[in-house]
């Protein structure tokens, strides 16, 4: 069980204009899976490499259990990185790949063989040892890469986009496998992903990184329902933002007064609600009549664009409920007060 602290990390690649990582601080709780979420190309992989020791920061510190690991070479840190492309060594068999870390540490061969067999069983690839990496499917390669990392019993496991490039059903299998393996080993794990769903499913905590900064760090539910900024909300697929002013537990907006779930400090603010929280007809308190600008049937839900007094809301309704709603018509929608959230950073 190791907890990892990143403090004011900064790294600029030679020749690059902007820093890849700037003044980044993050605490990764021990024994948990933390998902580092952010759009592609946001410097997330760089952070993994910094923790693994494959890059040296220009400034800042990395500590495991309070001890700085900056002086340690990658092989001495016990932080194993699993690359997005798995990077199984093509010149070695699967067994040699899995046993690689132990061989490098000079462990006796019988022990290596035993541990390799165990690990292959654990990732549900028994008997795959003699094969070559090129003979494996993508999902199998991912599992070998995972086995190869875990066999060294690392203090910290760093997974870079472990689910990218897998089919939908393989993704779920792999998610479950990662979660199960993490539970059984208890290794502190940092998963990098650009997919909010993967982050929510895998991470006991999610750190959202936008523009090189951690903008919100907490349980996945919080990032969904209680975004810290409009940008966080938008990243999680919530474009709804209504300007107005809170006063005495009521939010005064162009849509009329809306009851807030609890007392909020008075002042101007930006109100948000997740599209799937919006109901048709009465529900949960506030009701508003709005004009239907567009409707789109999307299989699992129907998407409505609603207008009123310069405010646009997006609502996701169950297809059954949305039957009969017509473009250009007027509908009454419910904005349940328990689903309302005032963005802390105020009006945009």
């Amino acid at each position: 069980m190791t907890d990892v602290t990143l403090k004011d990390l900064t790294l600029r690649y030679p020749g690059a204009e902007a820093a890849a990582v700037a003044d980044l601080s993050l605490r990764i709780a021990s024994g948990q899976i933390t998902a580092l979420l952010g759009p592609s190309g946001g410097g997330k992989t760089t952070i993994l490499k910094l923790i693994a020791g494959l890059l040296r920061p220009d400034a800042g510190d990395i500590a495991f259990d309070g001890q700085s690991v900056l002086p340690l070479a990658p092989e001495a840190r016990g932080a194993v990185m699993v690359f997005q492309s798995q990077l199984l060594f093509p010149t070695m068999s699967v067994a040699d790949n899995v046993g690689f870390g132990l061989r490098m540490r000079g462990r006796p061969k019988p022990e290596i063989d035993r541990r390799v067999t165990e690990m292959l069983d654990l990732v549900q690839l028994p008997g795959f040892g003699p094969r070559r990496p090129a003979e494996l499917s993508g999902g199998q390669q991912s599992r070998v890469a995972l086995a190869r990392a875990l066999v060294t019993e690392p203090r910290v496991l760093l997974l870079d986009e472990p689910l990218a490039g897998l089919d939908a059903h393989l993704r779920e299998e792999m998610r479950d496998l990662i979660a199960a393996l993490q539970r059984s080993t208890g290794v502190t794990t940092l998963v990098v992903t650009h997919d909010q769903e993967d982050a929510a499913a895998l991470g006991q905590a999610v750190a959202l990184m936008l523009d090189g900064k951690i903008v919100q760090h907490g349980p996945p539910e919080a990032l969904y329902g209680e975004p810290a900024t409009a940008a966080v909300a938008r990243f999680f697929g919530n474009p709804n933002a209504v300007p107005g002013r809170a006063a005495g537990g009521v939010f005064h907006s162009p849509l009329g007064p809306l009851d807030l779930p609890r007392d909020w400090p008075d002042g101007p603010g930006l109100l948000t609600i997740r599209p799937e929280a919006i109901t048709l007809g009465q529900g949960g308190g506030n009701t508003v009549e709005m004009e239907v600008a567009t409707t789109a049937y999307l299989g699992t839900h129907t998407r409505l664009t609603l207008h009123r007094d310069g405010v646009t809301l997006i609502a996701h309704l169950p297809p059954d409920a949305a039957r009969g709603v017509e473009k250009g018509g007027r509908v009454t929608v419910g904005l349940p007060s328990r689903a309302l959230w005032l963005l802390p950073d105020g009006p945009a």
């Binding site: 194993v80 870390g101 490098m104 060294t152």
Partner: protein
């Protein structure tokens, strides 16, 4: 047009040229080496030329010298080339100059390099003169014999100079294709830098390293002009011996020259095969 015929037509000119010039040249050499050329009235095949060559002590000394030259130069050049490629892969001041010089060097004929080596390393060459100017030696004879010497140091120096960029560029291209991530993965799994190189990168660059160094091996074994220029009077490198036999005014020596050329072909073929097989077993995954 059926695919097979089309393929054949595309290949035909190349096969004709290589078949006639290369195989034909080899074939004629074989025929002449056994003294069978009905066109010029030779109809009694015999292995006399081979017997004469193989019973000559000079032949074995030449063979040993040529093997020494090619094995030593290939090994040294390969090691330095891999080191240079590792260096070039990372950024360092002057990297642009090195890669320019690598490419320039590829275009410089061997002979030019050999003359440069001669002017640098002979006993009255630039280094010897430097030694004199700083008071290390009083006269040329005190400078170590590095050209026209029994250990073929000058010849090897020239080959190393010329082949490091060749192997280096091939290996560098492979390294760039592979990227740094495999080694990073190995490091992250607990490999020390040397282990990551030895167990991960080296097997990955092996195909390019093998191909290029095998070419170097064959070339240094069979090249004429460098040992002719930088070698000592006796023993001579095998190609120099073969050329001398070929240009002997005694026409009786010609079958021996042909036999020597066939032996050069056979030996370089076998050695390249053995080298590739051996290296693959020792280094391959």
């Amino acid at each position: 047009m059926p695919g097979g015929a089309r393929t054949f037509l595309l290949l035909a000119p190349a096969l004709v040229v290589i078949g006639v010039l290369f195989l034909g040249g080899l074939g004629v050499a074989v025929l002449r080496s056994v003294g069978y050329m009905p066109l010029i009235g030779l109809t009694d095949p015999s292995l006399d030329a081979y017997a004469a060559l193989l019973s000559n002590r000079d032949f074995y000394r030449s063979l040993a010298l040529s093997l020494h030259i090619s094995i030593t130069s290939t090994l040294i050049a390969s090691v330095i080339a891999v080191g240079a490629a590792l260096l070039l892969r990372r950024g360092f001041a002057g990297r642009g100059i090195v890669s320019f010089l690598f490419q320039l060097n590829l275009t410089v004929p061997h002979l030019v390099g050999a003359i440069g080596i001669l002017y640098l390393f002979s006993q009255s060459g630039s280094f010897a003169r430097l030694g004199y100017q700083v008071g290390l030696i009083d006269q040329p004879g005190q400078f170590p014999a590095l050209v026209y010497d029994p250990f073929a140091v000058g010849i090897i120096l020239q080959y190393v100079w010329k082949e490091v960029p060749f192997i280096g560029l091939v290996v560098l291209a492979q390294m760039q294709g592979i990227g740094a991530d495999y080694e990073a993965a190995a490091r992250s799994l607990g490999a020390r830098p040397w282990q990551a190189f030895r167990h991960v990168l080296l097997p990955l660059i092996l195909p390019g390293l093998l191909a290029s160094s095998a070419i170097v091996f064959a070339f240094t074994f069979g090249a004429y002009e460098i040992p002719a220029l930088l070698g000592q009077s006796h023993p001579q490198a095998l190609p120099v011996l073969a050329y001398r036999l070929f240009t002997d005014v005694d026409l009786a020596a010609r079958p021996q020259a042909m036999a020597a050329s066939i032996l050069i072909a056979a030996i370089s073929g076998v050695m390249v095969w053995a080298y590739v097989a051996l290296t693959r077993r020792r280094v391959g995954g």
